[in-house]
């Protein structure tokens, strides 16, 4: 399904040195030692002072971290299944230990007499985290673990992080930012999910109808695809803008529509634009999905005496479902990102934090908006991908 499945496997025989993990290990070591790991700021606006690994968690901690990173690289010199498993354990352990590093740093660096003081996560920390996740991806590929295993592993690590953040990481800037507006955060999260769900479900229904009509009328197919392609080309900010002006005019001059809730700024233009963008991937995938069903199978269904309606709902549709779900996945992931932009025109959602944070130069608030969006996109992507895999006739790939 993903691109990688298309490639023949790389050198899978063990014993051949694994340059990838060694590079990642060197990268993590240099990120941890050369870049600032954490930063401390007296309040939310002032840029923090950045601290290196040794000042943040002391020599014992720094040596432990280096040992873990070196072990990942060292085991890759002579790879074997056992070594890969050991590396997987080390990487997971490191991921679990990372929030504790923040706790130690917070304990040492934050002056308890300053209630506004906060601990920021530095570039070195982010880079090391990113490289660790890459290690995980690489190990998953080498060990040929299923998607489910990695998802379970990552969600347990995520849960551990959340527990740490909730219980002990009070002086972390991100946590403080969240605590200052937790109700707002949940509401924005809900708004985001609702907007995405409405856009995706409308486009699924419209997409299915449109694709079925296209199969009947060839001319419609060409016109509709040209139109949807055209819409997709227009940048999101511009499409939102182009909808704002006419809708504002309508709301101002047609009182009936204003009563219905149509207005220039807000949810209406956002939803229209979201649905317009969602239609192209949806219609394209639905059309291809319905079109690609094996004609022999349909022939067999006909020969068995199935009526056209039965053939569609009992044969064509179930067989098309995996590719159709692929369309839903692409659409949903795209809509999650676009809804963030919609915050600019007052539609709410997590994007609000991004743009408010940018406006106030409060970077932790930007993170509070951007990170959940990223996680949301990854979860939806993994969930719908797994569902499509499960529905594939003949089981998994």
């Amino acid at each position: 399904m993903s691109l990688i499945d298309a490639f023949s496997s790389p050198n899978r025989q063990y014993g051949h040195i694994n340059a990838v993990l060694i590079c990642l290990s060197v990268g993590m070591l240099s990120a941890a030692w050369l870049l600032g790991v954490v930063s401390v700021a007296p309040n939310r606006i002032v840029a923090g002072t950045s601290y290196g690994l040794v000042t943040a968690i002391g020599w014992p901690g720094a040596l432990l971290v280096s040992l873990l990173f070196v072990a990942v690289g060292g085991l890759a010199i002579k790879p074997s299944r056992l070594h890969y498993c050991a590396q997987l354990c080390i990487v997971t352990l490191t991921l679990l230990l990372m929030p504790f590093g923040l706790m130690v740093a917070g304990h040492w660096l934050i002056d308890p007499t300053l209630p506004q003081a906060r601990l920021g996560i530095g570039a070195g920390y982010w880079v090391a985290l990113f490289l660790l996740l890459l290690c995980l991806v690489e190990l998953r590929l080498r060990l040929e673990l299923s998607r489910l295993w990695t998802t379970l592993l990552l969600s347990s690590v995520g849960a551990a992080w959340l527990v740490c953040a909730a219980l002990w990481l009070d002086n972390l800037a991100l946590v403080q930012e969240f605590q200052a507006r937790d109700k707002q955060f949940y509401r924005a999260m809900l708004q985001h999910v609702v907007l995405v769900s409405i856009a995706v479900s409308v486009s699924v229904v419209v997409g299915l109808i449109l694709a079925m009509l296209m199969r009947r009328y060839q001319r419609l197919q060409r016109v509709a695809f040209a139109l949807l392609n055209f819409l997709q080309t227009i940048p999101s900010l511009a499409l939102f803008g182009l909808l704002l002006a006419p809708l504002a005019w309508l709301a101002a001059n047609v009182p009936f529509l204003a009563q219905l809730g149509v207005s220039g700024i807000g949810t209406t233009p956002a939803l229209i634009a979201l649905i317009a963008y969602s239609l192209l991937p949806m219609v394209r995938n639905t059309y291809i999905a319905l079109d690609e069903v094996d004609s022999n199978t349909l022939e067999a269904a006909k020969a068995m005496g199935m009526r056209p309606r039965q053939r569609f709902w009992q044969v064509r549709f179930p067989l098309a479902l995996p590719i159709l779900l692929e369309g839903v996945r692409i659409t949903a992931v795209q809509a999650i990102g676009l809804t963030a932009v919609a915050a600019l025109i007052g539609a709410g959602g997590l994007g609000t934090f991004i743009f408010q944070g940018l406006g106030q130069a409060a970077m932790d608030m930007v993170l509070l908006g951007a990170l959940p969006i990223l996680v949301l996109a990854l979860i939806v992507d993994a969930g719908l991908g797994a569902l499509a895999d499960a529905l594939r006739p003949g089981g998994h790939e």
Binding site: L3, L237, G241, V333, G337, L358, G359, A370
Partner: protein
């Protein structure tokens, strides 16, 4: 016989192919230079506003900055992306292929806004973070399509080329790359299209470009500004996209020509 007919057809369609990009580019240029002429129209939209034509910077320089940012990002993206794609498909770089392939397809999941927002805390406000964010994000489609394009080249063709005595460099430049070009070009098109849209969002992080009138319009409640910015960005995107479309068709004709 059939082939001659085909060629005739191709000649017939050769003209209109370039009509779309030229048309959109004309619209863009007219929009950039002649926006003040349209003042009565915008006045009708915003009768109460003090000013209806965005004037904090002239549209020409806004357009120039937009194109500059996207252009720099595109040059870096294309060169690094294609080189990386080539490197991991060679024998010596094959170890990295699974990771890079996975990363390129996983990265498509990251919303561009989130990438832009995450770049700011690290790199600060202004034009530089946008260029970096655009480069990082734009890399993924290019790498992905380079890998897919090179992978799709028939293995027996490569073998035949080797058997003819070509060096592996010649196989790459004369067989693999020409055959993979359409797919790579499609990746570049995706990358540049996304980047034009994302660059417009850069107006919120202090880069001045065509996104500026839209943001200023939303903040001040002036729909005329919003419309001006939106129209120009849309024209720019359509110009570039139709240009790539024409290029792709041209390429297809060249590849299928005898």
């Amino acid at each position: 016989m059939k082939r001659d007919g085909d060629r005739e057809n191709l000649l017939m369609t050769a003209g209109p192919r370039w009509l779309w990009p030229v048309g959109w580019a004309l619209m863009l240029l007219v929009g950039v230079w002649a926006m003040p002429v349209l003042e009565p129209g915008f006045r009708w939209l915003e009768p109460d506003a003090r000013q209806v034509i965005y004037s904090r910077a002239d549209f020409v320089s806004l357009l120039a900055r937009h194109v500059f940012v996207v252009g720099i990002a595109a040059v870096v993206t294309i060169s690094v992306g294609v080189l990386a794609g080539i490197a991991v498909t060679r024998q010596w770089g094959r170890d990295f292929l699974p990771l890079i392939g996975q990363l390129a397809s996983l990265g498509q999941t990251f919303p561009p806004v989130a990438v832009l927002a995450l770049a700011v805390p690290v790199l600060g406000f202004g034009t530089l973070p946008i260029i970096v964010a655009l480069m990082l994000y734009g890399l993924l489609p290019v790498v992905r399509n380079t890998l897919a394009g090179l992978h799709d080249v028939d293995a027996s063709l490569k073998q035949a080329a080797l058997a003819m005595g070509m060096t592996s460099w010649q196989v790459l430049t004369r067989v693999e790359l020409p055959l993979a070009t359409p797919v790579i070009l499609a990746g570049i098109r995706t990358s540049v299209t996304i980047n034009i849209a994302t660059a417009a969002l850069g107006a919120t992080v202090g880069a001045s470009n065509l996104g500026d009138p839209i943001i200023a319009g939303i903040v001040n409640g002036n729909m005329a500004y919003v419309l001006q910015g939106a129209l120009l960005i849309a024209f720019l995107a359509l110009t570039v996209d139709s240009l790539f479309n024409a290029l792709q068709q041209q390429l297809q004709i060249r590849l299928s020509a005898p």
